[in-house]
Symmetry: C2
Subunit: 681 residues, 2 copies
């Protein structure tokens, strides 16, 4: 009897055929999307389609059939849809994830005996076969139908019996051929399957389905304490007063650095000075004081009640509050006293501060995720998320997740998402590619990227082609930032206002998720702490800044315009359609995004040289836009309002950075002519 | 407590973290070789290395260590070797498979706490740190050592204690730094590991290790009944007489089409005529008669005793016999009478013959692998292999495996290989790529290829680059044939003798495994049955042919030469080093193979145009051969015996197909000069 072989007691891999599966002749391989053999889930947002492909084939020449199965993980029953062969043994099917949460899918296939018989019969007809072979072929079909009659409803059995009698009876061959091809017969027979013969792909694969904000959103980062015009410490009430300003620029998410009590022990001074001067406010990332820790509010900002008012006020402006989750403690954090076992201890009994010799961060104690009491620590950290979810927060920007164990994040995100599937997690991991990808795979909704350091045409083209086209797009959702409180790139330091506008347009159109750190960004703040540094001079991380957001040279109007363009153009709501286009000038980059049905096409052209007028010939792939070579089309610059009529694939572009370093074109395929006196569409 | 989440009774994927693994901080991903997530084994031959790579990393900045584990599946204990980081979080290790059979391997990694401390200390030294932080750092190391002392041998514990005392004592800092870097200390500490913290990659991955003939061999196919000079039916004794001729050409494997009794019912006539004339001998693939089936010998060829003599005689000439396994029956096969349930029955009670309308093969009944009695059928078919293994056969060429279920092959090959790991299986599947690859993955040692239909420079370059470089090379071993009894390509039909020589050289040097169907090949038989057909006229499949192997225009000497070259040049014993080189003439193809240490380099240049002299400039990658641009080197044409001194990367080649359409150069890097009066090396 066929059985698992097991010689010398050695373990055999799971590859050995289970004996009962001997009759499952269909092979299913290379199912996509699939991440690390099903170890991790692909990502979608509610309403999106999951296109599933697989290599499906069998031995010999029999016809096969395949279907896609899917369900919410919480549901019992599979939904099903047929898969269709499209090329070289590759089949495709698709389903739509209609709500947030975890979904599962798999593929199954089987030899379709009846369809094989029908194909065979068509060949007999085509070759004008007659005689006993043909007569027997009709009877073979009749026998297949007879066997099926026992497995279907009474009504269907009646239909089948009639068909069978026609095939087995004395009708002429033409009538029998017609019967064999009968659509009702085909449909009933397609529903009759022998479970023993069906191959089901294992393992089941998963999709994490989030809400739309996971895929598309504009973020604005702001220090709450720097929201007062006079430079005195701002509070949540000042943030509430600032909300219309942020909302007026069209942002979706207002992200706040930590709002918790700040430690005083070993507090850093202005510009990261080793010791604080009297009155220095300290870094919000040095979390915890006698006033509380990760679940408390910095008294300088207000109270929990004030925070709630801010959340509500923001919501009234269609702004969501995102909080910063930084799992580390100041020496004054209550955890240090209550749970010293959660930290590493030095031989003198003191707690080990953060240290990367020769650098010392004595204002911060990292957690010891491996400590003997790790289970309690992990549960407590989970409760921090749950606390703020309870306060109405659904978006978390996680600080340096790559310095905490991957397994912790995988666990805590799954735990939170189980009961709160609308929670969004942004990973702030500026580190090596494989580490960033692992964090994305294990569950983070979005990831910071290398965008800040990708400034040339070559760098941007390579990087965003990877982000939009590589199979990692199934799990890695970029959220790109031209600046952060930690990073003021030299392109911004030396490029002036045109550099800020160019980087804004790039961020907002290359990526459906982007953010700026303001008001530093819109006010074109470009002073670094020292030459060669990417740190801001007088960084808000260590002091309160006074920002004149009403300044006439602010970029607020350009930002409002670009965010309005984003909102109006569905093509900019996702990244997968991104495609770069040739321009014969390396200072000019051009790309497009479009809806699958071409109902919205956006073409962006940016002059990357902030100092000089640049021009060149742009090559557009007309076929990708369903345009004929002789068909004029309108390029409507949504930034400037200008409209151009273009024709053919090659057209001239010129951009003066002192005016506007970018075009953001809506491409309109319909251009009126003399036979059409209505307006532009 | 962290635990598997399980909401609404829904099944969670296996992806959820087991709670006890929370402290395993190292991530191991993308281990190669790996075939379909470990579902199938990679392939090697005994003595080869398996180079294993993996992405290995952890959170934060701690030092990590990793090792490769491997063992024979039949053994209990793992062997171990360290893995080394080489690039971008990718690590590499290697082991050698010393004997045939199934081997397993995996990877494990862990945070190396002591190495992390040592790295940290080096940074403190580099930054001239002193004071209490440095003093505490020394004590931290001493504490790590103290903990290790309990886990090592008494002798090692003594060494550790001495080191610890030096670190914790009053020695000066320099001495303590030196102690921290002590090699003996490092070695002992590296051996101390906490199993709770070690990540082991799952699943374990497998390698099927075969003998060398699986990777390298020259095959000769011959119809035993066509071995008599006078054209009367040949026997095993005639095959024995022919063995020195085949061995003299340097072949390793003598492959015989089926040697079993041939059915007479519905026997095909000459040139596949629908009915046989009296005296027609029938196709050897119509297996089975009253004289027996798959375990019997065609009485026209002799007896089982005669077959045994042939096996022994061949072995005496260093020739192995390969048998053809064709799982199908003539209507006269004993199985048909004894096990009618193993075949499909038509509605009139007759057994379904092989049929692809309008084509009918009434002389052949296919097995019904899905029949209710499939287990008994599968066991019987397995016993066919075992029977011939019992008769000394270790190589099987399997006829049309793609028309039998994949699961059957996976099962039967694993079963046979378990007890007979030296058995080699060649899949004769001329079909779609994914089907061929699946057969290779599930266990076939070697596979027929598309070589016969790849005749232009572009086609050959693309195809053999894929075969040699794609990751499928881990399981797909090509065995290439310029002709078979079924395929006489038009290139041979119309190219004359130069075409035969060119295709011989290509087959024998592009692929470590190749074969010819003779004597048709060496006698340049090129008559097709009809224009546009690839079938031989008067095919040996249906009749006995009389071959004059002593003909003066036979290619036997060229074949003997090329097989001797193959034997002498280790570079031609495997395929992975294959690399194509540019020639500025599309009629000339050039490529090389070399040993990893450059101890043997073969450069092949072939004129693909059988009708005209062709010439061009060949570009060789000197760096790949460790040659300097100003260094002369010798190109020794191993086919013609001519020697050329070349220098630099570009050299002129010219080939007259009427003389010899190919160079097979041994590239010798050592060229004597006036300072060196010894002979060429």
């Amino acid at each position: 009897m066929p059985r698992e072989s097991n010689k010398s007691g050695a373990v055999r891999s799971a590859a050995v055929m289970p004996v009962e599966a001997g009759r499952r002749r269909v092979v299913i391989e290379a199912v996509t999307p699939q991440i690390e053999g099903g170890r991790f889930a692909a990502k979608r947002v509610a309403g999106e389609a999951v296109v599933v492909e697989a290599d499906i084939f069998t031995d010999g020449h029999d016809a096969i059939a395949a279907e896609l199965l899917w369900r919410r993980a919480a549901d019992r029953d599979w939904q099903r849809a047929p898969m269709v062969l499209f090329d070289n043994d590759r089949w495709r099917g698709k389903f739509t994830v209609t709500q947030t949460g975890r979904w599962l899918y798999t593929v199954r296939g089987w030899v379709d005996v009846f369809a094989s018989w029908r194909n065979d019969l068509e060949k007999r007809r085509a070759s004008n076969q007659g005689g006993p072979d043909l007569a027997l072929a009709f009877l073979t079909g009749a026998a297949l139908i007879e066997r099926a009659e026992k497995k279907v409803s009474k009504a269907d059995a009646g239909i089948l019996a009639a068909m069978r009698e026609r095939l087995a009876g004395s009708a002429d061959d033409d009538e029998k051929f017609a019967t064999a091809q009968d659509a009702a017969l085909a449909e009933i027979m397609a529903g009759v399957r022998d479970a023993d013969l069906i191959t089901t792909y294992a393992p089941e694969l998963a999709v994490t389905v989030e809400r739309e904000r996971a895929r598309y959103g504009a973020w604005y980062e702001m220090f709450p304490r720097s929201t007062r015009a006079d430079g005195t410490p701002g509070t949540f009430d000042d943030c509430i007063a600032r909300a219309p300003y942020v909302a007026g620029m069209g942002f979706d998410v207002l992200y706040l650095p930590p709002v918790h009590p700040i430690g005083s022990t070993n507090r850093k001074g202005r510009n990261n000075a080793e010791t604080a001067a009297p009155g220095d406010v300290g870094s919000p990332w040095a979390i915890g004081s006698a006033d509380g820790g990760h679940k408390a509010i910095d008294p300088a900002l207000g109270t929990l009640a004030g925070f709630r008012r801010l959340v509500a006020a923001a919501r009234a402006h269609d702004l969501e509050i995102a909080l910063d989750i930084a799992f580390q403690c100041s020496p004054d954090h209550p955890y240090v006293r209550e749970h010293p076992q959660w930290f590493r201890t030095r031989p003198d009994g003191s707690i080990q501060f953060a240290e990367n010799p020769p650098k010392k961060y004595q204002d911060i104690y990292p957690f010891d995720f491996e400590c003997d009491d790790w289970r309690a620590l992990w549960e407590e950290l989970k409760s921090v998320f749950l606390f703020w979810i309870g306060e109405g927060v659904q978006i978390f920007r996680v600080d340096n997740p790559h310095t905490k164990p991957f397994r912790f994040w995988e666990w805590v995100i799954a735990e939170i998402r189980r009961d709160h599937p609308d929670t969004i997690f942004l990973a702030e991991a500026f580190t090596r590619p494989k580490v960033m990808h692992r964090l994305a795979r294990l569950g983070f909704s979005q990831s910071y990227t290398y965008f800040t350091w990708r400034n040339t045409k070559y760098e941007l083209t390579e990087y965003f082609t990877e982000l939009a086209q590589d199979r990692s797009r199934e799990y890695f959702r970029p959220n790109v930032w031209p600046n952060t409180p930690d990073i003021l790139h030299e392109y911004l330091q030396f490029g002036g206002r045109p550099a800020f506008v160019a980087r804004l347009v790039l961020a907002a159109t290359l990526s459906a998720n982007y953010g700026i750190y303001g008001p530093a960004f819109e006010l074109c703040e470009n002073h670094a702490r020292e030459p060669g540094s990417e740190e801001y001079l007088n960084s808000e991380k260590y002091e309160i800044r006074r920002w004149d957001v009403a300044r006439s040279d602010s970029l607020r109007d350009v930002i409002a315009r670009i965010n309005a363009i984003r909102r109006d153009n569905l093509a900019l709501h996702s990244d997968w359609s991104l495609r770069f286009h040739a321009v014969d000038n390396d200072a000019i980059i051009a790309y497009s995004k479009c809806m699958p049905d071409r109902s919205n096409i956006v073409v962006v052209v940016v002059n990357l040289d902030p100092h000089h007028v640049q021009s060149g010939w742009l090559d557009l792939p007309l076929d990708a836009f369903d345009l004929a070579p002789d068909q004029p089309y309108q390029m409507h610059d949504l930034l400037s309002g200008a409209r151009y009529i273009w024709q053919g694939s090659r057209n001239f572009v010129q951009l003066d950075p002192q005016v506007l370093p970018a075009h953001v074109f809506g491409l309109r395929r319909r251009v009126p002519n003399e036979r059409d006196f209505d307006a532009f569409i």
